[in-house]
Amino acid sequence: MQIPPIDFTAVYPEVIVALVGLLVLAVDIFIKPQRKTSLSAIALVGLVLAFLTTMLIWDRNETAFSGMVAVDSYAQFFKLIFIFSAALTVLISPRYLSLNNISVGEYLELVLFCTVGMMVMASANDLVTIYIGLELMAISIYLMAGFQRDNPRSCEASMKYFLLGSFASALLLYGMSFFYGITGTTSLQGFTLSPNSNIIDSEVMTRLPLVLMTVGFAFKIAAVPFHMWTPDVYEGAPTPLTAFMSVGPKVAAFAVIMRVYMKTFGALVPDWVQMFTLLSILTMIYGNVVAVAQKSMKRMLAYSSIAHAGYLLIGIVSAGTATEMTGGKAMSATFASESMMSVMVYLFAYMFMNLGTFAVVISLGRADNPRDSLADYAGLAKRRPLTALLMTILLLSLMGFPGTFGFIGKFYIFKAAIVTGNLTLAVVGVLMSVVAAFYYVRVVLYMYMREPEGEVLAEGDAISSTMYAIVVTTMFTLLFGVAPGFIIDMARYTIERMLA
């Protein structure tokens, strides 16, 4: 018996982030309370190191750890998104943490471990790796959602997420066990339509893992009708974590979905295209329509993030339809990679604009009052002109206004849908974007047109790390909105190598 060689260079980003997480936890014990901000600095340095090592292994295209982990540009692309979102979360947190007396050390440690889990998911090449990454991510988030132990809402959010999350992962696992029963392997490359097993040999049974795993992933991306946990958890969790969990797990689940459904379930495309079409339409309609009725910003953004999952699913459906298309194999391969490219670009855009918007919500909060209702935004332009301006840009980007990164993402998604003949999805998507415009623009109107009610607190655009995060995300939103070529080329390159 020979033990295969272990190539740690393949997982350097994960190793570094995990070690920095442990380091933060250890340093937290010895450091004086007034110097806790240095923990954030350690975390940021670790994330920069992880970023550099990710770039170092960018061009590799192989598997490591006996095929458990895929080391390809596709995984590295997603690791970049996770590193960015973790770094931005570290930036937007200090203000909220000090206002609410939350211990910095454990908080940062959980953020970093969650990031490791998401990175493992993105580079998973085996069901076991997917499951471990998913649970590492999910357990960290269950705990983070309940971080304000003395706040009933926070505990309740944590409980709800825990129950529904573990229910979803049980369904996912049950699907995975049948995957193993059909193929005799847990490797993602192993799926076939001609089962190796004499127990499972019917047509229906080969669809069982597909259906169960789709339900499990749909929970993670918060697609309707598996979205029930989202608004409550987003509302109850500490706001910086709401920002983090509205981006990270969703992006990680999409990373896994694209790899598993395009590569592994390639033979079952007609089946999952149907499922995702239905999920996408329901998600877009429900998310956008219910968001209109929300008075709390956090809840509104929760429903808007559900809606964004719907748009992203359009890209997945287009990619599936493209591989089905007859006539010109090269042509359909191009369409498939273009559709997946659109999803990846949209995820990148979504990360910047959503984290930025939540950062604004955090910057308004006070110790005694989270001030996240719509009325609190009335007259913000007079009190804090810069914040109001940046918030406007971010909201326009979420809406998909030309000149912003959000527009680029939506444009490519809808283009992919039209090219691959998914006109229904494109029409529903555009109509729902109009509905979305209503609730995003409403916030802008409140900020610029409304006079605040009651007494007005004197405040200005204070310089803080939260403000830096808002400025950085807005800059990227505008920069890539005007010149998206770099990200598009990067996504195209990674996806072509993954599908090849």
Binding site: P152, F162, F178, D232
Partner: protein, 100 residues
Amino acid sequence: MIDPVHSIALGAAMFCIGMLGFLIRRNLIVIFMSIELMLNAVNLNLVSFAHQFQSPHGQVFALFVITVAAAEAATGLAILIALYRVSRAVNADEASAMKW
């Protein structure tokens, strides 16, 4: 010799009982137990498939599932205690501060 079909049928029954328990019962601790039952159904499935294929993959996977389930149970109980401290709730219906 037990036929693999039997153990898979048992697994399916366990999974369904767990799922029903999760959906119907209101006591949070019973809901936890239901989730554990579902995970054990998965383990049974994995192990019986592994036996049939004579390959270790499924058994290794089952070990991972057991480990993670333990971590999950620890987390869940911690959350439950935190929730009980602030709201004295052990029933799912009582934790309803937030509704759309």
